[in-house]
């Protein structure tokens, strides 16, 4: 049986499969099942039963999210599906691989999701810099239209679906799902107040589901091979496979599809080849720039949402950033703070004013002018910018590496103060 449903067609040394090759490898079977009578309620139920959790960062159960979309005759007729392909989380490089490696998998997944929630229009909100993704997806959409898998009355089911590729113009905040909806409507991408949630009132006020690229790519496998097969994939508590990446000074950085539930050590040592010669593992961010640092003592924790939460971090995007013992931890956190400060949308005060202040203090540390008072201000911001105090999750995301960095790298902050310079540079 297939054990790598997300990447089974991917081979980056050649162009992605065209529709014929994709179909020959079990592709678009789910659309045929729909044509044979699989109802949208069935699809929704299967996705709920699969236990799939969103791969965009928050890990929210996908079927449950879909079930909030109003159904039935008195619900708004127009509903939308939006695929979040804005991938800008620092250190995250998985959605690009899926789109450029196997575009039909995502398109098939979009048809399944749109069918389940009764959406006749879907937008792919694609990062503007992903030029190859745009080309590859546009070509694949045209192929699917030609086969009658998209357009009006798909395979005589009475179900219509159009997919539009929207390229963004570069702002991390657009990945936040309500900011994304504003951007898609042509507005400045400030987040929206919730409630109402997009599932009820989203794009142009209509019920809207926003799902991550990788979440969508899980759907064809679930429908084609079934929920039991899907449940057989995992090695841990959460279901399915996931793309896991490793970047930083390891021997073979890369991105692999693995079952959930493997020990982190296996990813780092067997797949990424361990640290480069002469370097030791100091710490790592398990799932992109908005997650808390973890330490070598956590290597036997498994790659599961709940297990990683138990040690105070998040699996989030599953793309790990590795810090070695010869790279300055203060500099690394400072780099992340510069990113968050720059990408703050400016809507709420703690984030708009707080993050640049934090960034400025890191510059002072870098230049040997940091002091104890600055350190205290950094600590204070972990609270000021924390969950519940800002309008969206961007600033709380920044406090993850900041708070855990202050805790785990205290001696390094202290050395910057005492030695009046960055000890890693001198």
């Amino acid at each position: 049986m297939v054990n790598n449903p997300l990447t089974k067609n991917i081979d980056m040394t050649r162009p992605p499969m065209d529709i014929a090759a994709y179909e020959a490898n079990d592709g678009y079977q789910s659309i045929k099942a729909i044509a044979k009578g699989l109802s949208s309620d069935d699809v929704l139920q299967q996705v709920k039963d699969s236990g799939l959790k969103g791969r965009g960062g928050a890990g929210f159960p996908t079927g449950l999210k879909w079930s909030f979309v109003p159904r039935g005759d008195d619900s708004p007729k127009q509903k939308y599906l939006v695929v979040n392909a804005d991938e800008m989380e620092p250190g995250t490089f998985k959605d690009r691989l899926l789109m450029e490696g196997d575009p039909h998998l995502m398109i098939e997944g979009m048809i399944i999701a749109a069918y389940a929630i009764h959406a006749s229009k879907a937008y792919i909100f694609l990062r503007g810099e992903y030029i190859v993704s745009q080309q590859v997806l546009t070509r694949a959409i045209a192929e699917a239209e030609e086969r009658g898998y998209l357009g009006k009355n798909i395979l005589n089911t009475g179900f219509d679906l159009d997919i539009v590729v929207h390229t963004s113009a570069g702002r991390y905040i657009c990945g936040e799902e309500t900011a994304l909806l504003n951007a898609l409507e042509g507005k400045r991408a400030n987040p929206r107040a919730k409630p109402p949630f997009p599932q009820v009132s989203g794009l142009w006020g209509k019920p809207t589901i926003v799902n991550n690229v990788e979440t969508i790519c899980n759907l064809p496998g679930i429908i084609t091979y079934g929920v039991d097969w899907y449940h057989g994939l995992t090695k841990g508590n959460d279901h399915g496979t996931k793309l896991f990446g490793v970047s930083g000074k390891v021997k073979t950085p890369g991105c692999w599809e693995l079952p959930l539930g493997l020990p982190i050590r296996e990813l780092l040592e067997d797949y990424a080849g361990g640290m480069q010669d002469g370097l030791e593992l100091r710490a790592f961010l398990p799932g992109g720039g908005s997650t808390d640092f973890m330490l070598p003592q956590h290597l036997d924790v498994t790659l599961d949402y709940d297990e990683i939460a138990k040690v105070g971090s998040r699996l989030a995007t599953g793309t790990m950033i590795v810090l070695d013992n010869k790279t300055c931890p203060v500099g690394m956190v400072g780099n992340l703070m510069r990113f968050f400060a720059h990408e703050s949308c400016g809507f709420c005060t703690p984030c708009r004013d707080g993050l640049p202040w934090v960034d400025e203090i890191f510059n002072e540390f870098e230049n040997g002018r940091g002091n104890e008072k600055d350190l205290q201000i950094l600590h204070d911001h972990v609270t000021y910018l924390g969950p519940g105090r800002t309008f969206c999750a961007l600033a709380p995301g920044a406090t993850a590496p900041l708070g855990s960095g202050l805790k785990y790298f205290k001696e390094d902050f202290d050395r910057h103060i005492k030695e009046k310079c960055c000890p890693y540079k001198h």
Binding site: G91, R96, E129, E185, G245, C255
Partner: protein, 181 residues
């Protein structure tokens, strides 16, 4: 109001509606196509800015006013969008825009040294254009290729695993492709 203020307001967008540039036929055709994809023409504002930039290289006040007039979107709304997004250029840029990733994985892999090499070679900082107008250097967040860091884009092309030597070759290649034209 002092004379200085009057002069300033003359340069301001709202009072220069007469200075709009008439959009070209190609630009209009692409904008019209985008209008079929969204239920609300306001959504096309950003698309129109990108389309104009594709043809003009950047979005001048005149172009912005041209779009405003064509779509019936207030110039201030369009400007609000244009200034929000990193990839909409409201100043002229060079022939090749370098989008240089300086996010965390590239930083760990030594992008600061690469940036310095670019700066020394081309004599430009972030936001600047070379005197010959060949290159503009702009920082960009994580380009989603962190396993092959350091990474940058030149125009539409992605360049990975950058070294100073690779930078020299890239700069030479793009400068050459200009002289070959």
């Amino acid at each position: 109001m002092s004379n200085g203020d009057v002069k300033m307001s003359n340069d301001m967008i709202a009072s220069t509606a007469t200075r709009h540039r008439k959009l070209s036929a190609e630009e209009i055709a692409e904008i019209e196509h985008e209008m079929t994809l969204y239920p609300d023409k306001k959504a096309v504002g950003l698309e129109a800015l990108k389309i104009v930039q594709k043809y003009q290289g950047w979005v001048s006040d005149e172009s912005l006013l041209g779009i405003s007039k064509y779509l019936g979107i207030p110039a201030s709304d369009l400007e609000g969008v244009a200034t929000f997004f990193n990839l909409v250029y409201r100043e002229p840029v060079g022939k090749n825009v370098i989008l240089f990733c300086d996010s965390v994985s590239c930083w760990i892999m030594g992008c600061e040294g690469i940036k310095k090499h670019i700066k020394d070679t081309l004599d430009i900082n972030y936001g600047e254009t070379t005197k010959d107008g060949d290159f503009t250097l702009i920082p960009v967040p994580c380009l989603g290729d962190c396993d092959r860091a350091p990474v940058m884009m030149v125009g539409p092309d992605l360049h990975r695993n950058l070294t100073p030597g690779a930078i020299d070759k890239i700069i030479l290649d793009y400068s050459k492709s200009k002289s070959a034209e």
